[in-house]
């Protein structure tokens, strides 16, 4: 008897997992405000993110072995109520976001303590949890308007998190700049969704995907398509509308840049995929609206030009920010192929780049913690004083370049294979060129940290002895790197999973 009850409770829990992953961080966030204690808030954030990661892993296993999950909020079934929809592609995003949040929030204890006044810590972690809620919500929901709501939750808390950076006028300006750009993007998305609602009378994505073909010729839908695409590209920080990103990543607290680098833009890319392939349909987006002709050139210019710009940066965080924009170019290039191979390469790179870039920002945060500046000149011969951090950076950098046995290699290999499959050999060549540019900008840092002798002038300015970063910080950095190493070495399962996910995205809602 008790076994039966136990079983049903277990099934109940599994049934409610999609709601729990959103509700948990949403409810813990106000608890942090009530407790107003920095250690409590920090541990609640880390534990909550951890639980969300476990839930996301369960969801991923469930959808990998079974059909996509539908969850009707409030018991109102799909076209009238808000529905959560989980297939492999967004389960992967959920897992990526929540695990990066877990690792980075553990990491954040020391760096936040140094960068933010203690009485604001509980608010910092509240904003963090809300940002996590928003990011997870964007990924999980199947309601177009709900996407916008969660987008606003995560954006507003992100503006706050960036403004908490300790380089005062710069952090404020970076946050304000992001606020302006982000609001323009969000209102474009909202306008687009509004037009879609006017044309179809529904907000549920699955319902939209069925009704849009009936009114596909109408100008309303075309305008909606344009607004949503441009709005999302701003949120993604795609090449011509990327200007908010470098400042935001440079001047945010280092834990925040690490968190955002792995999650914020990735979630928006997922929404772009969802809208283009499922809501509007592959045929509409890529054959009728010729989206490839817009995305592909921008992606290519993006990853070449931004890699070149990264070479000339003198602040390590800014260098990584420009490299992020370049990497987004790869992902969008994969998306704009509109093939199974291209989409799967894009998903692989979303995950790999999320892990690698977060780890690189974390390593940079470790250096910032000890040095107080990550200007490239101040990193001379850092390997002798901070060997673990510098080797973490070097390892992440090598993965970013895409040498064999690293996660970055798997990404590039799949991307190039997908390009060759379409006979786009020029794209494959350009990806290789851009990888060489990555060698230059990562090499510049490695050369400075490992092989540049300390000049007398530098030696005098930094009189004190620099020690290794706190254990908690470098351990969590290495956890992400080892995760990416695992994905690099043991990639078959992961690649197969993304292929299955790409098929689901191309196949539409089930």
């Amino acid at each position: 008897m008790s076994a039966v009850v136990e079983m049903s409770v277990m099934e109940q829990v599994i049934h409610h997992l999609p709601a729990l992953i959103i509700v948990l961080p949403l409810m813990i966030a106000p608890l942090c405000v009530i407790f107003r204690n920095r250690i409590v808030a920090w541990s609640l954030t880390a534990v909550t993110s951890g639980i969300c990661a476990v839930i996301a892993a369960c969801l991923l296993i469930l959808v990998k072995n079974g059909a996509p999950i539908h969850y009707a909020l409030g018991g109102w079934s799909s076209p009238s109520g808000i529905e959560y929809y989980i297939d492999i592609s967004n389960a992967l995003i959920l897992l990526l976001v929540s695990s990066i949040s877990t690792v980075v929030s553990v990491y954040s204890l020391h760096s936040v303590d140094q960068e933010i006044p203690r009485e604001k810590h509980y608010l910092f972690y509240t904003a963090w949890l809300l940002c996590l809620t928003g990011a997870l919500g964007i990924a999980i929901t199947c309601d177009a308007f709900n996407v916008f709501v969660f987008l606003e939750i995560s954006s507003l808390s992100t503006y706050l998190l960036i403004a908490l950076g300790n380089e005062r006028p710069h952090s404020f300006m970076a946050s304000f700049r992001y606020l302006i750009m982000g609001s323009v993007g969000a209102s474009f998305i909202l306008l687009g969704i509004g037009f879609l609602y006017a044309a179809t009378g529904t907000l549920n994505m699955q319902d939209l995907s069925e009704r849009i073909p009936l009114v596909a010729e109408s100008r309303t839908v075309i305008v909606a398509f344009a607004f949503i695409t441009v709005g999302l590209l701003i949120k993604i920080a795609m090449f011509p509308v990327h200007n908010w990103l470098p400042n935001a990543y440079q001047y945010a607290p280092s834990a925040v840049s690490s968190f955002l680098a792995g999650t914020a833009t990735k979630v928006s890319i997922y929404v772009l995929m969802r809208f283009m392939f499922d809501v509007f349909g592959t045929n509409y987006s890529f054959s009728q609206m010729l989206l490839s002709n817009v995305l592909m050139p921008l992606a290519v210019i993006g990853f070449i030009l931004m890699s070149v710009v990264a070479i000339f940066q003198t602040d390590l965080r800014r260098l990584l920010a420009y490299s992020s924009i370049a990497q987004i170019g790869y992902i969008i290039a994969g998306v704009s192929m509109a093939t199974q191979a291209g989409l799967s390469a894009a998903m692989i790179h979303i995950v790999n780049h999320g892990l690698i870039k977060s780890a690189l920002f974390m390593a940079t945060g470790c250096m910032l913690y000890r040095l107080g500046s990550v200007h490239i000149q101040s990193l001379r011969q850092l390997i002798s004083s901070m060997p673990i951090t510098v080797s973490a950076f070097a390892f992440g950098g090598i993965s970013l370049i895409g040498l064999p046995l690293t996660a970055g290699f798997i990404s590039k290999w799949n991307l190039i294979t997908a390009a060759l499959e379409k006979d786009w050999w020029w794209l494959a060549a350009l990806i290789l060129v851009s990888s060489i540019l990555a060698v230059v900008y990562i090499g510049k840092v490695i050369q400075m940290t490992c092989f540049s002798p300390i000049t007398t002038e530098n030696n005098q300015s930094s009189g004190q002895v620099i020690s290794e970063a706190p254990t908690l910080m470098w351990v969590s950095t290495w956890i992400l790197l080892l995760a990416s190493l695992y994905l690099g070495i043991n990639s078959e399962d992961f690649v197969a999973l993304t292929q299955q996910g790409a098929n689901q995205v191309l196949g539409g809602f089930k």
Binding site: A19, P30, I34, L73
Partner: protein, 143 residues
């Protein structure tokens, strides 16, 4: 100086003393009648807050802050969100989906009623606190 300036507004002070209870009462009406007529948590919260903002404008923010300290407001903000989400979780435990109010009472209709009542209360609480705290933080800014 400040005191003198405020003493000149005796008419305003008397009138707003008269008005504030009715503003609060009207806010409560909008709050609790929201499920039958126009209204609900957002509107009621703003009206409720406007009573305190009026008090702040007429009697000075220092006095209002004694009535409602900023700390209490921060807690109130959080409690409102908790009340909203807590209702959803309660419906989870009672066997429905998240925010499925039908399971909150024996009769689904009553359940829906109770559910919307509680979450609107949460919304009202949060909106009130947020509005007042925004007023506080702008009024504290010294040029």
């Amino acid at each position: 100086m400040m005191q003198k300036h405020q003493q000149r507004h005796e008419v305003l002070q008397v009138i707003s003393k008269l008005l504030i209870p009715f503003i609060l009462l009207f806010a409560l009406y909008v709050q609790f009648h929201g499920d039958f007529g126009p209204g609900g948590g957002f509107q009621a919260g703003v009206i409720f807050a406007s009573a305190f903002i009026l008090h702040g404008l007429i009697f000075g923010v220092t006095k209002t802050r004694k009535v409602l300290p900023a700390q209490a407001l921060k807690t109130g903000m959080a409690l409102g969100v908790l009340l909203y989400a807590g209702t959803g979780v309660a419906s989870l435990f009672l066997g429905g989906n998240f925010l499925d109010y039908s399971v909150l009472a024996h009769d689904p209709l009553h359940g829906q009623h109770w559910g919307i009542f509680t979450i609107e209360l949460g919304v009202g609480l949060t909106v009130t606190c947020v509005m007042i705290i925004m007023f506080y933080s702008f009024s504290l800014r010294v040029r």
